[in-house]
Amino acid sequence: MASVPSSSSSSPSQPKTRKKPGQNSSPAPPPQTKWRTGTQERLYSRRLVDALRATRDRTQVQESVGSRAVKEAADSALALTARGQSRWSRAILFGRNSCRRKLLVKAGGKIRRHRRKQHGVPPVAAEPGVLKEQKVKERLRKLGRLVPGCRKLPAATLLEEAADYVAALELQVRTMRALADALSAATVSAPEEEETAAVDPMAIAEQGS
């Protein structure tokens, strides 16, 4: 079944990478089951650890690791775990990669995070029915802004991405919380434990990464 270990339905979800809308929905696993499996958790936790370690090594030792860097690392790890099968994961990965700012700076001029609502919010509703439609559209747009890389998507795709994103975020929160708790517990506890425990796993970790 799986040559790819990351997702429970790896083979069925592979067609997702091809952008055929017809094929997309049928083999795609529902996000809850896809993101809740133990495999995913382990995968992600491992990636997270590696990413954190890399982050820590990357920044200078004396200064503490910025929380934003941690967040970005965590998000990238999450996106990686998604194997680029969802738009938001691709957006995250490629966003980090090319580092949008550099591109924009090269284009000349300052980068302005244009938050201005260009259209404004058209409050005019032709009929009472249209008002609701507008509300829904507003919400959808807002959702599109929240999910990375999903700003200009049609509603159906957007909802799909949002479902996947929510499931992935839950996994991320769960993992990070466990990790943070474990780490803080370990810090609190006696240091000897850490060393003895770290020896063996260190070997694997090194080889694993």
């Binding site: 079944m1 799986a2 429970s8 820590r56 994103y165």
Partner: protein, 337 residues
């Protein structure tokens, strides 16, 4: 109720039998009814034979404006001939009921139920199915959107109760923002904790034990008992702590019922961590257990045999002397073992 409908129906469908009429042969009849009556009609016990129709009926149950449905353009609506099967009839009844809200435009296409509870709705001239390509496409699109919405609703806690697209979306947006805030907060915590720890392998162990001990043992389901005898899955007992073994055993026995989805994947994971301790067996015969056979024999040897279900490249753990080629199918594994 039927009596009321009869006279209304008579001019339109004279030949319609009472049952047919009541189930909504013509929307005009329903339009003539006061809203509550129509709703009753809708929820007639005979009506919802088809769950999909019930669904539709439920959706169209916002009938408030039906009272204003005074204008019954009977000439417009070509009274559809009584359909052969009841289902179609009923569906039509539902949809026409739903459609008979406030404004009855003279549109042939149906308005889709994607716009939940819109006060105005196009009235469908046709019955049952929308043969217009536009409406078909529209309806398909709406259904897709609704399906995804439902999925999202299940995902986000507390959304199932809410009705109405806008509110549900609100809830979803709030949830996403909440999760993102959590991520930020946790990343802050992690950043604070980070520098002080060796955290190369320790946290792996810790997080594993805290989070996933049970889940790791998914593959063991069938052979739980034997599992206990061997050293189980010491996936996380790499630290070699005896407690972990015991813990694993208990969790194993507990989690035996966990669905064995990705068996190979789990083995892959197990192999990864089984490197340290030299008992790789569990993963191997986990696979067997999943396959449901050959478990007993496999236990001892086969340490490095199955290795990798091809998932290796992902984490690139090379320690696992890959005696076994990436086996995809169970049979192959069996033979190999």
């Amino acid at each position: 109720m039927e009596d009321e409908i009869q006279p209304l129906l008579n001019p339109t469908t004279a030949s319609a039998s009472p049952s047919v009429a009541t189930s909504g042969a013509s929307f005009t009849a329903l339009l003539g009814l006061p809203p509550n009556r129509a709703v009753e009609l809708l929820h007639e016990p005979t009506f919802p034979s088809d769950p999909a129709l019930v669904d539709r009926a439920a959706r169209f149950s916002v009938f408030a404006a039906a009272a204003a449905a005074s204008s019954a353009p009977s000439p417009e609506v070509s009274p559809p001939p009584p359909p052969p099967e009841t289902a179609k009839k009923r569906k039509d009844g539902a949809s026409t009921n739903g459609k008979a809200k406030v404004k009855k435009g003279k549109h042939a296409e149906e308005d889709t139920d994607g716009e939940n509870k819109l006060p105005y709705v196009h009235v469908r001239a046709r019955r049952g199915q929308a043969t217009d390509s536009h409406s078909l496409a529209e309806r398909a699109r709406r259904e897709k959107i609704n399906a995804r919405m439902k999925l999202l609703q299940e995902l986000v806690p507390g959304c199932s109760k809410i009705s109405g697209t806008a509110l549900v979306l609100d809830e979803i947006i709030n949830h996403v923002q909440y999760l993102q805030r959590q991520v930020e907060y946790l990343s802050m915590r992690l950043a604070a904790v980070n520098p002080r720890i060796d955290f190369s392998g320790l946290d792996t162990f810790l997080s594993a034990t805290t989070m996933e001990c049970g889940r790791l043992t998914i593959g063991n389901a069938k052979v739980g008992t034997e599992l206990d005898q061997q050293q189980q899955q010491p996936v996380w007992s790499e630290v070699g702590v005896s407690d972990s073994d015991q813990m694993n055993s208990t969790t194993n026995s507990k989690r035996l019922q966990i669905q064995l989805q990705q068996n190979q994947l789990q083995q892959f994971w197990h192999v990864d961590f089984l490197n340290t301790q030299n008992h790789l067996q569990p993963s191997v015969w986990e696979r067997d257990t999943v396959m449901g056979s050959t478990a007993p024999h496999v236990q001892r040897e086969e340490q490095h045999s199955f290795v990798g279900p091809g998932a290796v490249p992902l984490l690139s753990f090379d320690r696992v002397n890959p005696v076994a080629p990436p086996i995809q199918s169970n049979q192959q594994l069996k033979m190999e073992l």
